[in-house]
């Protein structure tokens, strides 16, 4: 149930993100989701891509500082209060979240979560009947 996310350290330099998208595009690697966390000097680009192993090798070869983090992807109806229900479970289980990012796909919405303990969180969410997507399910969207 865990999903491999790539995190890339990026200096705040013109054209850097462009280079990455081109590098991945040329190798036919698709981006499913991404988010950027930034300050004035540098940013951390978090990416979920098809063929994460290939992407990792490719980026390393191009001298990017990249590492892999396990995250989980929860699916919920795209309706008011749906996320609140999930957060409620997480809160009760005293799981702390490093960061999260979300996107909707029409009727459903997806949320990528990086908890302090991804394995345990996945178990707890499944016990509570919350839908988690596998890597393949996520790439098929």
């Amino acid at each position: 149930m865990l999903i491999k996310q790539l995190s890339i350290f990026l200096e705040n330099k013109k054209g850097r993100f462009n280079e990455i998208t081109e590098t991945l595009g040329k190798e036919n690697i698709n981006m499913t989701a991404f988010t950027v966390s930034e300050n004035s000097d540098f940013g951390i680009l978090r990416l979920i891509v098809s063929k994460p192993e290939n992407a990792l090798k490719l980026l390393k070869k191009n001298n990017y500082a990249v590492n892999v983090t396990n995250v989980i992807c929860v699916q919920m109806p795209n309706t008011p209060g749906a996320l609140a229900k999930i957060m409620n479970v997480i809160n009760k289980a005293e799981i702390s979240i490093e960061y999260m990012y979300a996107f909707s796909t029409g009727k459903t919405a997806l949320c990528i979560i990086r908890p302090d303990n991804p394995e345990k969180t996945a178990e707890i969410l499944q016990e509570n009947k919350i839908v988690l997507l596998t890597e393949n399910e996520l790439f098929d969207i």
């Binding site: 995190s7 350290f9 966390s37 000097d41 540098f42 951390i44 500082a65 990249v66 590492n67 490093e98």
Partner: protein, 434 residues
């Protein structure tokens, strides 16, 4: 091994006596053969008769880089041009270089001191030495080359650059010792990690590094990365080139070949000699050279001297690792900063690669900006912004503790700081200072 036990283990008294005799001879020679030296001595009101022992050296005028430039190219030569067999030039950055003429005798001296260096590192005729210093006007390549030939080792005269070939030959020819600048050694170490070879397939065991100042931290880094013993070789073109001094197996100071090159430490401001053990500017007099002998040459290098006998058995004076050149010292917002201090801190932080770039600038409000760029090791980049910012703060504060001034620290991407194949450029000073 000690190459020349007679010279390297001489008693202090005998050494001073020998230095006195050789100095007197050199002073007579420059006085007779070199107009600028004679003029300077006349202005000071001294003649060769005033030099009776090595103590009298303080009576002599200094020679500076400026004197060498003013007398470019051969004004300070003390012999006929027909006796000059080779010319080298310093790697000056601006204008005309400093040119040095060598006689056959000078080359013999150079070979002798060079052989002492390599012997002190435990390198002998069974070794294969890859000389990756640049060959040419720069003294590094040819200096190390002839030294190795003198004691009968095998030389690979590959010069600098062409890194892939360096690694291939290091592997195929079973190189046991590498001679290059420490910054190029670092570059080679990285290239070696990425090469298809395994470290176990190499026979490399010793590094002979010089031509730029390097710190203890850098030594550790190089010894770990290359799995070798790394030794300093010291020299400067004006005096002879690499071979003026060398470390020994004790790695506890650089022995100076003082029967040829007499060292003094003086106050860089006043020029007054400083007592033993105090840090100041290193000054050399060549006391055996015949082509272009120099009296009391101001090296601009800052260090201190130690006259105690070394555990290796040598009695020759040792100097500490060079703190930096007086000229390398940056004055930032009134605080004195040496690049070597920054290197020391950076090498102590396990998360960092040993590469850095210092940029100093002056804003319109006359305030200096002081930026230090560092590379985080690849496996220490973290996905969490909070941890990255914490690391950045930690490094900046460590630098502040040592320097007394807080740098604007920038974490940069892997391998984005330029790697050097010769002497590293680690400081960019954009201030328009007079």
């Amino acid at each position: 091994m000690i190459w020349n036990e007679n010279a390297e283990c001489m008693s202090r008294d005998k050494m001073r006596e020998l230095q006195g005799i050789r100095l007197k001879r050199t002073v007579e020679k420059v006085y007779q053969n070199c107009v600028p030296y004679r003029q300077q001595m006349t202005e000071k009101g001294i003649t060769p008769n005033d030099i009776k022992s090595i103590e009298d050296i303080a009576k002599l005028p200094f020679t500076s880089k400026k004197d060498l430039r003013d007398n470019y190219p051969f004004g300070l030569l003390c012999c006929q041009m027909s006796n000059v067999v080779r010319i080298h030039a310093s790697s000056g950055t601006t204008g005309k270089p400093i040119v040095v003429g060598y006689t056959r005798n000078d080359l013999n001296i150079w070979n002798e001191v060079g052989a002492r260096c390599f012997s002190a590192y435990g390198i002998n005729r069974n070794d294969t030495v890859q000389v990756s210093y640049g060959y040419g006007l720069f003294t590094g390549g040819l200096g190390a080359h002839s030294a190795v030939e003198t004691f009968g080792g095998t030389v690979i005269p590959i010069s600098s650059g062409n890194t892939e070939k360096q690694i291939m030959l290091m592997h195929d020819l079973k190189t046991t010792a590498l001679a290059c600048t420490p910054s190029y050694a670092l570059y080679l170490a990285e290239a070696l990690e990425q090469s298809p070879y395994n470290r176990k397939e190499f026979k490399l065991k010793t590094g002979v590094f010089g031509a730029e100042p390097w710190t203890e931290g850098m030594r550790k880094e190089l010894e770990d990365k290359l799995q070798i013993k790394a030794y300093d070789i010291y020299g400067l073109t004006e005096i002879i080139g690499p071979g003026v001094g060398h470390e020994c197996r004790c790695q506890n100071g650089t022995h100076i070949c003082e029967d040829h090159f007499y060292p003094e430490i003086v106050d860089p401001e006043t020029g007054n000699p400083l007592p033993e053990g105090q840090t100041g500017e290193l000054v050399f007099s060549t006391i055996t050279k015949s082509g272009m002998p120099l009296l009391r040459f101001r090296t601009r290098d800052l260090t201190k001297l130690n006259y105690k006998k070394c555990d290796c058995g040598r009695t020759s004076v040792r100097m500490e690792k060079i703190l930096g050149r007086c000229d390398d010292m940056l004055i930032i917002r009134g605080v004195n900063v040496f690049p070597s201090q920054i290197e020391t801190v950076i090498c102590e932080i396990p998360e960092l690669e040993p590469h850095y770039l210092i940029t100093v600038d002056r804003e319109t409000n006359n305030l200096d900006t002081f930026e230090v760029k560092v590379e985080v090791k690849e496996n220490h980049y973290c996905d969490e912004m909070g941890k990255m910012l914490e690391l950045k703060k930690h490094i900046a504060h460590k630098l502040q503790n040592v320097l007394g001034i807080l740098p604007n620290l920038k974490l940069v991407e892997p391998k984005s700081i330029q790697r050097s194949q010769g002497k590293a450029k680690r400081v960019v000073d954009n201030r328009k200072l007079k």
